[in-house]
């Protein structure tokens, strides 16, 4: 085996790739060769390191230095400074804002990394890297020292709940599947992460696949399964190949397959791919999809624990749920349960997006407040604007206004507030966001993704979307709000699966907290946030206009007239509200009314 003095992890996430990560990687390798360092410094590919919006980025170990915003031309400088002269290339350094503290010793640390602990730190393509971080020790402990009941007890004591959305106690689910009659029993990992803007699971799958594999093996032992499936969405090809490689390596080391670690426990895994249907994240639809059918949900009961994949008892958990398990076994249930609230233990990953300064992935202890996440971890609202709302729970979640900023982020509190935990999407919106438009955006998504099996969901979401479209177009009528409320209730109670039941949530929550915006659209024909195109008009302030003609020249439809050095005017009938004139005006003379 070769020993390197340094390891460089290059992020090759789609986002970084689009910004030229491969070019940076090639340039780095060329520079290392040119400086005769290629045998001392190992270059590895990994998924997201952290900055997310600051790519291309690299991480250098053992120092743990994080460089971001790189171009191929910067590599010569970095190689010379960092690897030849041993100095940190400060100008590319990304300030580390989060506290990485695994032992929870620091006072109220904002971020704790359990699920993401290895991401960006180890080579996901190499099982030995994972093993060096105590990988597969938990599995060994379970197989040699614990009975399946012990494992379930330990996970029960930890308070771990499902991270895929509903938050069902994980150990309870396992014990149902264990108690269920019928063989064989199957184990499934839900890696279908379909919420727009969510990529927490992808990061784990691509950055630390063995944590999921080990967690599944432990669950399989506790329940008594010998075959498992990881159902991964087709949009994550890197995750699929990383997992397949990981499974292969685990088999070669006797950590999967027959008689694992010389015991009589046998378990094997297979990766199955989805094919672009959001509803397949729902557990019964997912199982239908693995069976090779259309991914349509079916009524429960029977629950998967009784009759799941091919009619056999099946346990299904989310990626993040499984990834927590090895750590719970190794460090103990008490350690895990020391984080979080009374009913929501441990940490949760979120994809923080929208109008916050630092977007990206975070992992925080449950019970943290929304304010801490948005202002301390996320750095507050971008461009010094005001906070308006935060949307959690993905397309079936809800929007919460500023009164809820001090809400504790846990399963019960979020649900009571009219939103939900969901799988971890968190979209922050500033005061220039139109809440009717946001509700319309989410309805568009769910209506497009409804599988069409039941009428309330298929037809109802379409009706709601039509009404919202009308309201945004300035054609809202008296009675629309009441109609929306009635439709929402009907869809919620009469739909078969969580998609239909949750689809009206964005509408219900915005109606609850931002009703005045709906009223302004309908009765005053005004969009208070100045977003809905039909309800705004662009105007030129005569006192500010210098007659430079730049707006008139840039307007795509020729809606602006005026003499050089004379005041210009916009013809609202021609204007398509593209906003170009406002962007190009150097004198802030164009305003939205």
């Amino acid at each position: 085996m070769k020993f390197y003095r340094s390891h460089v992890l290059v992020c090759i996430d789609p986002e970084c790739r689009s910004k030229g990560a491969y070019e940076v990687l090639d340039a780095l390798q060329d520079e290392l060769v040119a400086n005769g360092l290629i045998d001392e410094v190992q270059v590895l590919e990994t998924s997201r390191i952290g900055g997310c919006d600051q790519g291309p980025e690299i991480m250098v170990y053992p120092e743990g230095v994080h460089y971001a915003n790189l171009t191929p031309d910067d590599m010569a400088f970095i190689v010379e400074e960092h690897f030849l002269k041993g100095r940190i290339a400060k100008k590319f350094l990304l300030p580390i804002t989060s506290v990485v503290d695994e032992e929870l010793s620091a006072p109220t640390p904002k971020e704790i990394r359990i699920v993401l602990r290895n991401c960006g730190k180890i080579d996901p393509q190499n099982i030995e890297d994972y093993i060096a971080e105590d990988g597969y020790m938990a599995l060994a402990k379970v197989l040699t020292e614990m009975t399946p009941e012990d494992v379930i007890d330990e996970v029960m004591k930890s308070g771990l709940r499902g991270r895929g959305g509903a938050g069902f106690p994980t150990a309870k689910k396992w014990s149902f599947a264990r108690a269920s009659a019928g063989t064989p029993k199957y184990l499934i990992c839900n890696a279908d992460e379909g919420d727009p803007g969510a990529f927490m699971n992808r990061r784990v799958l691509e950055g630390d696949p063995h944590a999921v594999i080990e967690g599944m093996a432990i669950a399989a032992y506790a329940i008594g399964c010998s075959q498992g499936y990881i159902y991964c969405r087709a949009e994550y090809p890197i995750a699929v190949s990383t997992l397949r490689l990981g499974i292969q390596q685990a088999r070669e080391m006797g950590l999967l397959g027959q008689n694992i670690l010389g015991t009589d426990f046998s378990f094997d895994l297979e990766v199955r791919m989805g094919a672009g249907a959001f509803v397949c994240g729902e557990e019964t639809a997912l199982m239908a999809s693995i069976e090779g059918k259309r991914g349509e949900p079916r009524p429960r009961p029977p629950f998967p624990a009784v009759s799941g994949l091919w009619g056999k008892p099946t346990n299904i958990n989310n990626v993040e749920t499984y990834a927590n398990v090895p750590q719970i076994i190794l460090k103990g249930a008490d350690w895990y349960a020391s984080m979080g609230t009374e009913k929501s233990k441990g940490t949760k990953t979120f994809a923080l997006a929208g109008d916050v300064k630092h977007t990206g992935l975070i992992e925080v202890p449950l019970g943290i407040t929304l304010r801490e996440i948005i202002f301390d971890v996320g750095g507050g609202i971008k461009d010094n604007k005001g906070f308006k709302a935060v949307q959690t729970g993905g397309p079936m979640g809800g929007c919460l206004p500023s009164e809820y900023l001090d809400l504790s982020v846990d399963y019960e509190a979020l649900t009571a507030a009219g939103s939900m935990m969901g799988s971890g999407g968190m979209v922050v919106m500033d005061d220039e966001t139109c809440m009717v438009d946001i509700a319309r955006f989410f309805m568009e998504f769910t209506q497009d993704e409804s599988c069409g099996k039941c009428t309330p969901c298929r037809v109802g979401t379409r009706r709601i979307l039509d009404i919202l479209d009308r309201i945004c177009a300035g054609k809202g009528e008296d009675g629309d709000i009441e109609l929306l409320e009635q439709l929402s209730q009907e869809i919620r109670t009469n739909s078969l699966c969580g998609l239909g039941q949750g689809a009206p949530n964005p509408v219900i929550s915005t109606l609850k907290h931002f009703r005045h915006e709906y009223e302004a659209h309908i009765y005053e024909k005004k969009c208070p946030a100045k977003v809905c195109k039909a309800l705004i008009r662009y105007e030129i302030l005569p006192e500010a206009c210098t007659g430079c003609t730049v707006c008139a020249r840039n307007c795509p439809v020729g809606a602006i007239t005026g003499e050089r050095r004379g005041v210009h005017v916009i013809d609202s009938d021609i204007c398509v509200r593209c906003g170009i004139c406002q962007q190009v005006c150097n004198f802030n003379a164009v305003v939205v009314r």
């Binding site: 791919m273 094919a275 672009g276 249907a277 259309r294 349509e296």
Partner: protein, 172 residues
């Protein structure tokens, strides 16, 4: 012997013995897997890029499942396509701002440069042209989305540059 109830169009992949060999390899490698239909269709979509109706029938016969089931699966999931698509996709925004901002002229230019119309794929299977709804970058009109990256203010004379970006990407 494989039964065929419909006539296979001349340009169907089933008329190409090499592709049929590929299809057979994929089917044979997976036919005994439980839930083989999805696995086979996914691999066919990846390898060949689309799954025509005759191909669906072929798969159904070989896997001994009803054609209706295979067709049901293909039509349910948006990832499966029945027409060939290119490795790269260029989408032209047809939202209001882009439309008036010059998308039609851009499409004309694209037709000239690539020799195909919207909804079609270049003969080398590289690039598919499509239109899409407003992508929310109206101030950058006209907008072209190449694979996943948004290009704004694309004037017809700048279009060749846009294609170059996917051509370099693919050489890497």
């Amino acid at each position: 012997m494989v039964k065929n109830t419909t006539k296979i169009p001349e340009n169907d992949p089933l008329n190409n013995p090499e592709i049929v060999a590929d299809i057979d390899t994929i089917i044979n490698a997976n036919r005994y897997l439980p839930g083989a239909t999805m696995v086979v269709l996914n691999e066919l979509q990846n390898k060949i890029g689309y799954i025509t109706e005759p191909m669906q029938q072929y798969v159904a016969n070989k896997l001994h499942v009803p054609v209706s089931q295979v067709h049901g699966v293909v039509s349910f999931y948006s990832f499966f396509t029945t027409k060939p698509r290119g490795k790269h996709t260029i989408k032209f925004c047809m939202g209001t701002a882009c439309y008036v901002g010059g998308t039609p002229q851009l499409i004309e230019k694209a037709k000239q440069v690539l020799g195909v119309d919207v909804g079609e794929t270049t003969p080398d299977g590289e690039i598919t042209l499509e239109v899409c709804r407003c992508v929310g970058a109206c101030s950058q009109a006209p907008v072209v989305v190449v694979d996943d990256s948004v290009h704004g203010r694309v004037r017809p004379n700048k279009f060749p540059q846009v294609i170059r970006s996917i051509q370099t990407k693919q050489n890497q």
